[in-house]
Symmetry: C2
Subunit: 87 residues, 2 copies
DNA sequence: TTTATATTTCGACAAATATCGAAATATTTT
DNA sequence: AAAATATTTCGATATTTGTCGAAATATAAA
């Protein structure tokens, strides 16, 4: 849970998730959407992977990233419990 | 959105929200649940308040904290959109 | 009005984080 | 095999964050 919230606590990483929602992308394609260096982006992707929010597979010289929703569902569950009105 | 994820990115602050789910508490009562100093806890409560995840009211010499669910609902919404399978 | 209790603010400091350029690794193309 | 492309790893650095003790503020009790 810690790693997930840590990963979500950054605008760029949340934007990456939104991008991946539309479809899989290579690291380079993702990088093109931001004004930051490749090493920095690689680090962001690493944190997202550590949190299991994305998965990656190698395709030739590219690395393709995909959104993983399993962990998001767990967090959704946690938040839903909190937000439920207590009677 | 930034402030909310920042606020949620800490085990103690998430635990505070869970405590407040059960009912309102004073700053002191909350502090008794943790092994950290009062100033530190006050700071955590401040971040939660900045994120509108809690509200506070003064009751005599005490300050009573309550859970606010409005912002949680917004985050829930955001996460739900992400987690929805794209067809 | 003095003393006690509850909470926050103020400085200070150690640990964590985001960022970068350079170098390393892996794959493809020539 | 050499050159080009894609991505990650490695150090280094500036910023942010969590923590504390001491002091400040506010209310209640003696």
């Amino acid at each position: 849970m810690n790693t997930v919230f840590k990963a979500l606590n950054d605008p760029i990483r949340r934007e990456i998730l939104t991008l991946l929602k539309k479809g899989d992308m290579t690291a380079g394609e993702i990088a093109d959407h931001f004004q930051i260096g490749k090493p920095t982006l690689s680090h962001h992707l690493d944190l997202l992977r550590q949190a299991d929010l994305v998965s990656s597979r190698k395709d030739g010289q590219f690395v393709v990233y995909s959104l993983s929703t399993t962990v998001l569902d767990e967090i959704l569950q946690w938040m839903y419990q909190l937000s439920q009105q207590k009677q």
